[in-house]
């Protein structure tokens, strides 16, 4: 008998292709449903994309199909990308936050407001309230809103002279 918790255990082992964090800790998994008709169970998984243009989505879908499909007793695996509710950085788990910070990626605090320079009123890429993940200093500044992936921005720490990445508040 397969239950949703058994499927979640499999999903917890699937890493995001672009970050040191599982897709469950990243908050991508919205719903798992298992329907048993006769011999094989059908599994339906709803995934929330971080950014619509994220090239990792087909990889994530394939990985889920392969790993969940390999569970004994599972027949059909259906992966659907949905937009309600929208993914948000607030869905990242505490474990996920620690793992990201250890790799130099910071995450906006739960429930915080937009932390990119204000709309229509900014020339200076000003000193930010975002603490450096390496030295803890707040003498950091936004270097670029566009980073190595669509969900991350590049910051620079004036205190320890390191670049680090910060996840966009969406």
């Amino acid at each position: 008998m397969i239950d949703t918790e058994a499927i979640m255990d499999v999903l917890r082992e699937i890493p995001d292709p672009e970050m040191p964090i599982s897709i469950v800790d990243l908050g991508l998994v919205e719903d798992v449903r298992v329907e048993t008709n006769g011999e094989a169970a059908s599994v339906f998984i709803d995934i929330l994309p971080t950014f619509v243009g994220c090239p990792a989505l087909p990889m994530i879908e394939n990985e889920i199909r392969t790993k969940v499909g390999a569970v004994e007793g599972v027949g059909e695996v259906s992966v659907q990308f949905i937009y309600d509710p929208p993914w948000s950085v607030d869905r990242i788990s505490d474990d996920g936050r620690r793992s990201l910070a250890a790799h130099g990626v910071t995450v906006p605090e739960h429930g915080s407001k937009l932390d990119v320079p204000g709309h229509g009123s900014t020339v200076e890429l000003r000193t930010s309230a975002i603490a450096c993940p390496f030295c803890g200093s707040n003498e950091t500044r936004l270097d670029s809103q566009f980073g190595p992936t669509r969900c991350r921005m590049i910051y620079y720490c004036e205190a320890c002279k390191n670049s680090f990445e910060h996840m966009k508040r969406v």
Binding site: P49, F51, V52, G53, C54, P55, I82, Y83, D84, P86, L114, V116, P117, G118, H119, G120, S121, T122, V123, L125, D143, S144, Q145, F146, G147, R150, I154, K168, V170
Partner: protein, 259 residues
Amino acid sequence: MDSLPENLKQPMIDLLLAVADDKLMLGHRNSDWTGLGPILEEDIAFSSLAQDEIAHAQVIYELLSPLVDKTADELAYGRSVDQYRCAQIVELPDNFDWAVAIARQFFCDHFDRLRLRALSHSSYKPLADVASRLAAEEQVHVDHVDAWIVRLGRGNDESKRRLQTALDQLSPMAPMLFEPVDREAELTGAGLYPQAETDMFHAWRDVLQHVAHEGGLALELSPPNAGAQGGRRGHHSEHLKSLLDEMCEVYRLEPGVAW
């Protein structure tokens, strides 16, 4: 609602084509800068903008797909020029003039954000869900281009002069972004595209002027003439054909084949 009233399908198809076609062409123009951005960060930024816009177009084409019984690829690459519904401003080549690229982005991104925010309140739920996600992403584009407008405006005499020239060049054409698609008012009446027509233009003009003035730049914008026909009705500049010839070159070799 999860499905559309039969009599409003056609105007909704035109509206969704307008949204997706604007994004596809603008994304294609953004990608012209890949490898040629004036600084490394900006090369990455314009490539990221292209990645976003083309992905946004794809999601909208996928919403359209069951309504027109065509795949997203067929919609993106398989139409004749007069079947596209993009505004003419996204078709223009910028000829690698950074000021023109930024000015165009300024007009288009602000319009796109307002349109997506309106659509996020659509009574057609599949569209509302997607639009509210896209609107959040579009905000990043708007913040980015606003910073450039102010920076170039306050930069030096040359940057200010070149950006002012680009704004003056594009401002007569930019309001045609607001040209309605055929029967658009019926969509608004039915709550499918909730907006107050004049309000959206004024909101757009006000925020653009606010940012331009912060950069010490002048910007005059008038609503499009009632009855003026442009891209939303299939009337395009000569640039769209050459853009499509380039963009669709591979697709046309063997339509439908999986590459």
